[in-house]
């Protein structure tokens, strides 16, 4: 049985009339790497901030490791057991790399010294250098060091690879996989869908503050398909009537359907219209994400 380490029920954040996060229900299983996808302004960072007590929810509830995210005292306990690397990787400019590591360590009883040494070595960060003189990539590396070495049960990362070069990005992904292998739960948002697909086991998609999808990556890939049909004559179809069809595009005799589940029944039903060819295309996460967004926009239109 899966134990959920992060759960939310109807979690909502409103800024005046604008709803940044709308009745979000999440369940994140322990020990998984969970990718959090969404466009800019989808509500990913706001959700993460609500989970960590930095933003107060307008309504709804949430728990991390059984602790109430809305309670100030329990929120402190949450932050003892959850590591967080923010989207904004700026730290205290007036400190050196060594000083900020020294400053952060005492807050976390389980500080991972060997990982600190390893990451400092891998990222080649000079401990005596002032943070204000670090490049964007180096700041990201430092933010990751002071986040990941907390040896927390859950690691929440908001755009962790921002500013990293491909070599260091690869190193980061390896570290995350290693941490997950040690039983840590990793919840990370990213614009780089390929890197999410590379390591994530569970995907949550958000659009305009609303939950778009929330399931294991394998299931997502098994369910979402693109079905391309070619007809001898221009067909008169209304595929949206079919269960599982999320969106479709018809160009003359060619019809492309974006489907979620029910693929076989959809094909059987469309065979009545005698298509000259049927092609079922498996999708990667990027395509699933983009097609899902398109489907939502088409539906809204």
């Amino acid at each position: 049985m899966n134990e959920f380490v992060i759960t939310t029920k109807g979690l909502t954040k409103r800024y005046g009339d604008f709803c940044a996060v709308d009745k979000l229900d999440l369940n994140i299983p322990r020990g998984t790497i969970c990718g959090f996808l969404g466009q800019n302004g989808a509500g990913k960072s706001t959700t993460i901030k609500m989970l960590l007590g930095m933003v107060k929810p307008s309504s709804g509830t949430g728990e991390i490791l059984g602790l109430d995210i809305g309670d100030e005292n329990q929120s402190v306990e949450i932050r003892k057991r959850v590591a967080y690397v923010a989207e904004d990787k700026r730290l205290y400019d007036y400190m050196t790399v060594g000083q900020i590591i020294k400053f952060t360590r005492p807050f976390f009883a389980e500080w991972n010294y060997s990982m600190e040494e390893r990451l400092l070595d891998e990222f080649r960060l000079p401990t005596s250098r002032k943070i204000k003189s670090l490049s964007k990539g180096m700041r990201t590396q430092l933010a990751l060091i002071v986040g990941l070495c907390r040896n927390a049960e859950i690691i929440i990362l908001d755009e962790p690879s921002e500013g990293l070069d491909p070599v260091n990005n690869e190193k980061l992904l390896k570290v995350l996989v290693g941490l997950a292998a040690d039983g840590k739960t990793i919840f990370f948002s990213s614009h780089h869908v390929f890197e999410v697909e590379q390591i994530a086991e569970h995907i949550i998609m958000l659009h305009n503050g609303k939950l778009l999808d929330n399931r294991p990556l394998d299931q997502l890939k098994a369910n979402y398909k693109l079905i391309k049909l070619l007809f001898d004559d221009v067909p008169n179809l209304n595929p949206l009537e079919l269960k599982g069809v999320k969106s479709y595009v018809q160009v003359d005799r060619s019809v492309t359907l974006f489907t979620d589940n029910n693929e076989e029944q959809i094909i059987d039903r469309l065979k009545i219209n005698n298509p000259s060819s049927i092609e079922v295309i498996n999708l990667n996460l990027r395509d699933i994400f983009l097609e899902s967004l398109k489907a939502i926009e088409n539906y809204a239109a």
Binding site: K49, L52, G53, M54, V55, K56, E72, N73, V76, E77, R79, K80, A83, Y84, A86, E87, D88, K89, R90, L91, Y92, D93, Y94, M95, F103, T104, P106, F107, F108, A143, V146, G147
Partner: protein, 260 residues
Amino acid sequence: MLLEKYWLETKYRFFIGVLFITALCMFFVLMQPWILEQWALEEKLDPTLYNPPWLLIARTDFTYFIWHFLHNNLLQLTWAILTVMLALGGVQHESENGSALFTLSLPVSRKKIFMNRVWVGFLEASVLALLPVVVIPFLSWCIGLEYNVITGLSHSLLFIVGGTVFYAIGVLINSLIKGETISFFLAVSLVFVFYFLFQPYSDGMHKPFLVKMIDLPGFIAGTSEANTVSDPGIAGGLSCMAISGLLIYLSYFITLKRDF
């Protein structure tokens, strides 16, 4: 840890304060004989020159001279400005610098973050207020004059008790406004408004009741000897502390409710 962080954030402001206060004290103590000479010279050149009452006392009473120029004037104003400068910073301004989320990700309550910041600033302001207790008597001794340490200490305590209101105003403005520069100018402008409003009464002019009620600079200055209990009064001190406490609590409440 947090105390050290806030000390690192404010230490340059604090040292600037040490420099300014020491320089002011040095100027008025070491230059006192020269200033007296200048007054005498001016009087010699123009015997009809009007001498205000304070000048007549300042000529003969060194304690009064120091009080008039420092505790009731420039030192107080400088200290008040430094106090609001020391009140600036904290997690509100970290959100402007981009490091607020890192601070808030630490397993520390917002109350602790806020209070640590307030205490560091307050302690620094208090040290700046106590600095003249050492500097003035020492420099006076250097030029063969005497200044009572207890009088200096009493003035410093008045600075701390009364000046806490300025500090609390600084903390409140800082909590309300995100930009550090705007907060600074607003807080300093408020200090100037206070001193501008009460300037006409600084030479011992009779103060109307309403002015007395809100005459914070007057309370901080006390009397030249600073040895009375009734004037500025314990009630005044308690009122200052109550107002400061209220403003600090309001600032804390704003910080607690704020989204970052």
